[in-house]
C-alpha cells in the first residue's frame, strides 16, 4: 500500500462520522444509553480490546484513533447479535464495518491481526475472477501471513479434495462482467 500522509485525529473523526451518517439509522449512534446489551450479545466481546459498548463510549470521548489501533472490529464476526438487540436501534455491526474500512483505508494494521490481509486476499481473488476460489483465497492469505498455518490447513484441503469439494479454479464471470465489476469498483471507491 502506498504511503499516505497521516490523517489528523479530527480528520479521521470527521470522515468516520460522515460514513456512519450515510448509512440507514446512522444518526442513532448518538442515542447510545451505554446499557451494555450489545456486549452481552456479542460472542467475542471478551476477546476485544474494547467491548462493543466501550467502543461507542470511546468514540464519544473522541478516541477513535485508539479504537482503530485496537483488535475490536477485527474480532467482530458480523453475527448481527448486537444490531438486533440494541434498544437504541444502533446498527453496531455496520459501525464495526466502518471501523474496518477506515483502518483499511488508512493502513492501520494492529499487531497480530490478520483480517486486513484476508480481506485484501479476498478482494484480489474476486478482482481476478469476479468470484472467489477458496483455494486461491487461502493460498494468497496464508502465503501473505503465515505459510505454516497454511500447511496446517492442508489436511482439510486434502479431505475436501477427496470428496470432490475442492476445485483448483473457480468459475469466472464473463469478460463483460469483469469490465462491469472494474467500473463499479473504480466509481464506488473513487467517488
Amino acid at each position: 500500500m502506498a504511503e499516505m500522509p497521516k490523517a489528523t485525529s479530527q480528520q479521521l473523526a470527521d470522515e468516520f462520522m460522515e460514513a456512519i451518517l450515510n448509512l440507514p439509522d446512522g444518526e442513532k449512534i448518538k442515542q447510545c444509553i451505554q446499557c451494555g446489551t450489545c456486549s452481552g450479545a456479542c460472542p467475542t466481546s471478551h476477546l476485544m480490546d474494547y467491548t462493543p459498548r466501550e467502543t461507542i463510549a470511546a468514540l464519544r470521548a473522541g478516541m477513535l484513533d485508539r479504537v482503530l489501533d485496537s483488535n475490536t472490529m477485527w474480532m467482530c464476526s458480523s453475527c448481527y447479535g448486537c444490531t438486533v438487540r440494541c434498544p437504541a436501534g444502533i446498527k453496531l455491526t455496520d459501525v464495526m464495518y466502518e471501523l474496518k474500512s477506515l483502518a483499511m483505508k488508512h493502513g492501520v494494521r494492529p499487531k497480530n491481526v490478520t483480517t486486513p490481509a484476508l480481506q485484501e486476499a479476498f478482494v484480489a481473488e474476486v478482482e481476478a475472477h469476479g468470484r472467489n476460489a477458496e483455494v486461491g483465497l487461502m493460498r494468497r492469505f496464508f502465503m501473505g501471513t503465515n505459510p505454516f498455518d497454511g500447511l496446517r490447513n492442508l489436511g482439510l484441503a486434502l479431505a475436501m479434495k477427496q470428496r470432490g469439494r475442492l476445485s483448483l479454479g473457480s468459475s469466472s464471470v464473463s469478460p463483460e462482467g469483469q469490465r462491469q465489476l472494474k467500473a463499479i469498483a473504480d466509481k464506488a471507491r473513487g467517488g
Binding site: P43, S78, M160
Partner: protein, 290 residues
C-alpha cells in the same frame, strides 16, 4: 413471479453436497431455479469491511442483472450471500441517498437497479411457498427416530427477520418435523459459528464451534442440520482443533444441509443427496434411512 438462483462462491466448491442436494430437491419438488447468468461474488464480509459502498454496489450488480432478466426474486442457500444481497436491496430502498450512490456506481458499468428484487433464502421459499405439507405428501422415507439439532446460525435471521425470528427461529424445526425427524431442543441454534474468524482468529472460532457441538451432543442429537455452506465447513472441518483444545472430536456427529435430509426423505438416489461427501461419515446416523 419469476425466480432466479444465486449459488454463491462456496456452493460450487466446499458446499458441493449442499449444491447437489439443493438442485435435486428443487427438481423433485417442481421448483424452478435457473441460475442467474454471470452472477458475481456477493463480497461477503471482506468488501463490506473494505468499503461499505463498494460492497453494496458489488452485491447490487446481481440485483440489477436479476431485474434485467425480468425476474423479481433472487434465491440463495448461503446465509452469507443472503445477508449481503438483502442488505443491498433493503439499504438502497430505505435510504434514497445511498441508493443513488449505488446506482451511480452501477451506472459506470451501464447498469441500473430500480429496486424491484426480493432476496430470499431457499429455506424461506421451501417453508412458505412449497410448504411442509407438500413435502410430507411426497415423502418416501420417514426420518422418524432420527434426532436432529437444527442450526440456523446468525445471518439467516439477523439483522433481517424477513421470515423467521432473529433469536429463536423455528422454520427449520417445522420442516424437519414434517419429515418426521425428532428435533431436539437446541438453545444455541442461532449463536455464531465464528464465520471468517476461523481463518483469522482460529482459537476463538474453535471454541464457538465447540459450544455448538457440545450443546447438540448433550441434547442427544445424531446430526446437526444447517442452512449455510460456511457454517457447515466450520462445524465439520475443524474437529481436530476442537479436540486439541476441548478434548472431544464428536466423531459421530455429522453435519448436513437441510436439503440433504429432505433429499433422503424424498427418497432421492443417494448420490443426489450428497451425504457421502461429508467430512464426518453419514453413517451410522443415517444408516436406517439410506
Amino acid at each position: 413471479m419469476a425466480r432466479l438462483f444465486y449459488p454463491g462462491c462456496a456452493l460450487e466448491q466446499s458446499g458441493k453436497p449442499y449444491e447437489v442436494s439443493t438442485l435435486a430437491v428443487a427438481k423433485a419438488l417442481g421448483l424452478d431455479l435457473p441460475e442467474l447468468r454471470d452472477w458475481n461474488c456477493c463480497g461477503a464480509t471482506a468488501y463490506m469491511g473494505t468499503s461499505e459502498l463498494w460492497g453494496l454496489a458489488l452485491a447490487a450488480r446481481n440485483l440489477a442483472l436479476t431485474e434485467q432478466l425480468g425476474a423479481d426474486e433472487l434465491v440463495t442457500v448461503c446465509s452469507g450471500c443472503y445477508v449481503v444481497l438483502n442488505k443491498a436491496a433493503k439499504y438502497t430502498a430505505s435510504n434514497p441517498a445511498l441508493g443513488a450512490q449505488v446506482n451511480d456506481a452501477l451506472a459506470a458499468a451501464g447498469l441500473t437497479y430500480k429496486g424491484t428484487v426480493r432476496v430470499r433464502h431457499l429455506l424461506d421459499v421451501i417453508v412458505n411457498d412449497v410448504r411442509p405439507e407438500t413435502i410430507q405428501a411426497k415423502m418416501k422415507t420417514s426420518l422418524a427416530g432420527l434426532k436432529v439439532a437444527p442450526y440456523y446460525g446468525c445471518q439467516i435471521g439477523r439483522p433481517f427477520d424477513d421470515f423467521d425470528d432473529s433469536e429463536s427461529p423455528t422454520t427449520l424445526d417445522g420442516l424437519l418435523e414434517a419429515v418426521e425427524a425428532e428435533v431436539v431442543p437446541y438453545p444455541l441454534k442461532s449463536r455464531c459459528c465464528g464465520g471468517m474468524l476461523m481463518s483469522t482468529s482460529r482459537d476463538a472460532a474453535v471454541t464457538l464451534v465447540y459450544n455448538l457441538l457440545e450443546c447438540a451432543d448433550r441434547a442427544g442429537a445424531q446430526c446437526i442440520v444447517t442452512a449455510c455452506p460456511l457454517c457447515t465447513v466450520n462445524l465439520e472441518g475443524y474437529r481436530r482443533q476442537v479436540a486439541a483444545k476441548h478434548g472431544k472430536a464428536y466423531d459421530g456427529l455429522p453435519i448436513f444441509a437441510f436439503t440433504q435430509l429432505l433429499g433422503v426423505a424424498l427418497g432421492l438416489p443417494r448420490a443426489q443427496t450428497g451425504v457421502d461427501m461429508g467430512l464426518i461419515p453419514a453413517e451410522p446416523a443415517l444408516t436406517a434411512y439410506l
